[in-house]
Symmetry: C2
């Protein structure tokens, strides 16, 4: 069975990235966004955004737990906001002040979690 585009992206390797690495252009980001259709770009194009609606606090926290474990395993950490019934995520490679392919890989891995 062929992999979905999201799963294929999720399986890519997150590579070390120096401050000199150029951030993706908006066109490159928009093209990668097709593989993670539930994510959007921030208006300035520097950040990936995702909102999840959940039935209560416990479900939101259960999702946060899984995302935190993924983040630690990959050593690539989203900014996470959550509370009763929601989780909101931001991904950016802070050292380059913008988006790297690593951010899209993390986003795709988050999509592979049950939620």
């Amino acid at each position: 069975m062929p992999l979905s585009a999201t799963t294929a992206l999720a399986r890519e390797v997150i590579v070390p990235c120096s401050r000199d690495t150029p951030a993706l252009t908006r066109a490159e980001s928009e093209s990668l966004l097709a593989q993670i259709p539930k994510w959007t770009l921030s208006p300035d194009g520097t950040t990936l955004l995702r909102s999840c609606v959940l039935p209560d606090f416990a479900s939101a926290y259960a999702l946060v737990e899984r995302i935190a474990a993924l983040a630690e395993a990959a050593d690539h950490h989203p900014d996470i906001a959550f509370g009763w019934g929601y989780v909101r995520l931001k991904l950016q490679t802070h050292s380059i002040g913008g988006l790297h392919r690593n951010d899209f890989i993390m986003a795709a891995r988050i999509e592979t979690l049950p939620h």
Copy 2:
């Protein structure tokens, strides 16, 4: 040994609260704030705010875990934002669109956690 003001507040009971319960006035909130000096009021006076600086993602998440457990036990849930090196908290009684003594009790309980 006498209890600190924060610990005394943390030991109070969180009571059920209906939509008719009036929110605290700004003067009442400012007076209670003396018992949780690391918290501030939002400019509109409807929300308690707290920022914590931590050494990394794992420490931030460890604090979030403890806060989430407290919140579920009390059935009173903050809005939590966290990432690498920080946790930011907001407390409000959403059903009354402002602050209730319960929010100050939750804030005091969070202060009793190790962090």
